[in-house]
């Protein structure tokens, strides 16, 4: 099953809508609460990043028997130094985003921490596509 979401950056307060909606879907599908929590946190972090850094984008969630794959694609500025972006505490968030409690520099590290696999494809001026995978078996 595939679920598609649009992330609209013009309303920053709405960030989290896609992860909240997908969380309800997972509950209905009977996925364990522990796995749902990990998926929701990682997806929420990705959604926030798309809103505060990349002017929104699209999220595609593919649910299979043994795995859930979440692909988050944006046409934002790209990530110049991926090693730095993966470093806990490093952030390029705006002062406005920081005032809201974002920009802790924990988004990418949290996505890695809470997913089973994480892949990042990024190109300056073109955009970033982030893939998160979660194992459902065992």
């Amino acid at each position: 099953m595939t679920f598609n979401y649009e992330v609209d950056a013009s309303v920053p307060e709405m960030a989290g809508r896609a992860s909240t909606e997908f969380k309800s879907v997972l509950k209905q599908l009977g996925v364990s609460a522990k796995v749902i929590r990990r998926i929701s946190i990682a997806m929420y972090e990705g959604e926030i990043n798309m809103v505060i850094h990349a002017n929104g984008g699209t999220i595609t969630c593919q649910v299979d028997e043994n795995q859930i794959e979440i692909v988050m694609a944006d046409v934002g500025p790209g990530i110049p130094d991926l090693d730095l972006a993966m470093k806990a505490g490093w952030s390029t968030a705006s002062p406005q985003a920081r005032e809201l409690g974002f920009g802790a520099g924990m988004g990418m590290p949290n996505m890695k921490k809470f997913s089973d696999e994480m892949e990042v494809e990024t190109q300056i001026g073109v955009g970033t596509t982030l893939t998160l995978r979660f194992n459902l078996a065992a």
Binding site: E13, S19, Y44, E45, I48, F102, A104, M106
Partner: protein, 110 residues
């Protein structure tokens, strides 16, 4: 301890009531949402100075049953409505985060 046990603390004001029988097994203090998301545990009481709607989203994602907004900051209508929808109890205090945490530890044994 459950959420209801917090309500007789005179420094706390109940803003949005949800499941008052939800268990609380500790606390977490933080204002950077991603740090809270990475580090807080389920069933913890969260003390923060943030008062906007994303606080409710983080609490809901983490399984945090109640949030205390410190320094007298008041959440807007949207945040209260979201808390109602997600089943998160919101409280506020005029005290700073450290002082309310101290009271919870000394007077409530949290």
């Amino acid at each position: 301890m459950v959420v209801r046990d917090l309500l007789d603390l005179k420094e706390l004001k109940l803003l949005q009531e949800a499941d008052l029988d939800a268990a609380i097994s500790g606390g977490y203090m933080g204002d950077l949402l991603s740090v809270v998301m990475g580090e807080a545990e389920e069933e913890q009481l969260w003390i923060t100075i943030q008062s906007h709607v994303n606080v409710v989203a983080v609490a809901a994602l983490k399984g945090i049953p109640a949030v205390i907004i410190a320094h007298g900051y008041e959440p807007d209508e949207e945040t209260l409505a979201k808390a109602k929808e997600e089943g998160i109890t919101l409280l506020s205090t005029e005290l700073d985060p450290f002082s309310i945490a101290k009271k919870l530890i000394l007077e409530k044994g949290l």
